[in-house]
Amino acid sequence: MSGPRELLLQGNEAVVEAALAVGCNFYAGYPITPSTEVAEGMAAKLPALGGTFIQMEDEIASLGACLGASLAGAKVLTATSGPGFSLKQELIGYACIAEIPVVIVNVMRAGPSTGLPTSPAQGDVMQARWGTHGDHPIIVLTAASVREAFDLTVKAFNLAEKYRNPVILLLDEVVGHMREKVRLPAAEAVERIERIRPSMPPEWFAPYEETNTGVPPMAAFGDGYRHHVTGLTHDRMGFPTQKKTEILEGTDRLFKKITRGFREICLTEGHGLEDADAAIIAYGSVARSAREAMEVLRSQGKKVGLLKLQTLWPFPRAALEKFVGRVKSVLVCEMNRGQIYREVLRVARGRCEVRKLNRVDGELITPGEIAKAMRELV
């Protein structure tokens, strides 16, 4: 794991490589197609590295164990797919309110329910934002290639640790299972951000205090900073409160810490947007088809651009603002019935035409389909 390596890897395998490269030392999970390779990879590799792999009794227990381990100082990962992701929702909220870093990979298959377990979809995008009860802050990334699965896994860990928040990485089954030739960076070249540990004497430690980033330092259980962690709304000491001012102070901070980080959290990749008459918005494997469609159209003289989303939530509105007022139309391509489409509509506020192109039969949208739809728009 020292120098850069060239490998043929699945997206799921790249998640494993990245997690280990960024220092993940704890995995708890429960098998489910099409994510199981992540668990199997971690099971094969963690023990020799002295990290912990544990298969728990279900997805809820898996996330519970991850949260416990994170509180005890570990860098933690779990992976699942739709049904398991639904089960994890309650504890995702716990991680949000108690500000526990954790990376959750959801390799999306077609739902609802058991659905089409081996077919790709992007149907869990809105769920990733809104799946748990109550207002909560969340970061959701999504990758379009094996290398991006690697990079965004690294990013997911770094954001989770930096913002003390759960970060969800959505892969679709295509990216999770496809093998791609990929060059992985040398271990030293992988950025590693660690949560900030308290440096004050334990008596001064306030586990949920306001700081200039909004993110309080995080002590590990057993490191001398005895404190209380709860899923109840709590004060800056971590104890339950029902005082209006304390409630607001605590929950506002949860959102502000993310808002302050928008710039580094909201990742997108633009192609040919500068002079575009019409733009495609896509993410995950669909962005690959979109890219190919764009190149075909450009080669035919159509001024088409592509915005590839790598961050889905918080919704990277700033990236859209740059062109929605300028292009004639936008086509949002997704393997669902139009989820990010709604966000684009909201952000566009009538400034351009917004159309959608969707496929929900368990197949990747093809470049041809996108090119055809775009031809009607430019």
Partner: protein, 304 residues
């Protein structure tokens, strides 16, 4: 028996006394008694406060951690053991104690409970069994005796209650004990044994919920309920000589099961060592072929 540590000392050494007291529990609630015994037993173990992690789920009993000056973790309803498993694995030096109600541990959390037993991980689970969902106001719990009343069992519970201790033993727990809050000295002693045990240990404590269980079931107030505990308790030793009929309505107290078995965290550490050795051995030889991707052919069924 040595004189117990007086409350004066317990309060100052272990309680978050400055802000959190008087505690939230009702007059005569068994949870306070259990908490006192827990603290005395921890004191006996000689553990420093930094070395103790106390977790809980949601319920009246699960409020315990907020009152004590350890590393404390108030999780979600039923999930305490899953969090505790993560804590223990990530930091094995932490002495991990989990306090749960009967509903928390055996209702919504039943699966985590039996799996923790099976896993034999070095955690002590204290189940405060008051036969009822206290915090939500008195609904039936998985230990509500057949015929006993609850707000969701107005004419008496129909189901058989779990015998928590028996279930724990059958699921693989290697130390299982039970007593009541009346038997405070026995309770402290059993907790010490459980803490000292290597592996998953369960201590079931029969406790009073005068507010939601006692009154509705004509067991009286706090005093009456504690008297009832005194009356129905039979020691394991004594129970051995009794018939099933004689044991009807009784509660057997003492060590119900105790055996040695490999403990999970220790075994996992060994596995890590083995994996590293194998890897080093392999590094000395040419790289082994990668696993065949064909496995995925075989797993090509749909519903998972």
């Amino acid at each position: 028996m040595a004189a117990p540590v007086p409350n004066r000392e317990i309060i100052h050494q272990y309680l978050r006394h400055a802000k959190k007291f008087p505690h939230i529990w009702c007059p005569g609630c068994g949870n306070g008694v259990v908490l006192g015994c827990l603290l005395r037993a921890i004191h006996q173990m000689g553990w420093t406060k930094d070395e103790v992690m106390m977790a809980s789920g949601i319920g009246c009993s699960s409020r315990a951690p907020v009152y004590v000056d350890f590393n404390t973790l108030h999780t979600a309803h039923g999930r305490a053991l899953t969090f505790a498993t993560g804590v223990k694995l990530a930091k094995p030096k932490l002495n991990t104690v989990v306090v749960m109600g009967d509903g928390d541990a055996l209702g919504i959390g039943g699966n985590h409970f039996i799996h923790a037993c099976r896993r034999n991980i070095d955690i002590t689970a204290v189940v405060v069994n008051n036969f009822i969902y206290g915090m939500t106001g008195g609904q039936q719990s998985p230990t509500t005796p057949q015929g006993a009343r609850a707000t969701t069992a107005l004419w008496g519970a129909l189901e058989q209650p779990f015998d928590i201790a028996q279930l724990a033993a059958a699921a693989g727990a290697t130390f299982v004990a039970r007593t009541t809050t009346y038997h405070v000295r026995e309770l402290e002693g059993l907790l010490v044994k459980a803490f000292a045990h290597q592996g998953f240990s369960v201590v079931e404590v029969i406790a009073a919920c005068p507010t939601c269980y006692g009154r509705r079931n004509k067991l009286g107030d706090a005093v009456g309920m504690m008297r009832w505990q005194k009356d129905v308790a039979v020691s394991v030793e004594k129970a051995q000589g009794m018939t099933a009929e004689e044991l009807g309505g009784k509660i057997v107290t003492g060590v119900i099961a105790s055996r040695e078995a490999p403990e999970y965290v220790t075994e996992y550490a060994k596995l890590c060592a083995r994996a590293r050795e194998l890897e080093q051995a392999a590094a000395r030889q040419p790289a082994p072929p990668k696993p065949s991707p064909e496995r995925t052919d075989m797993a090509a069924n749909e519903p998972r």
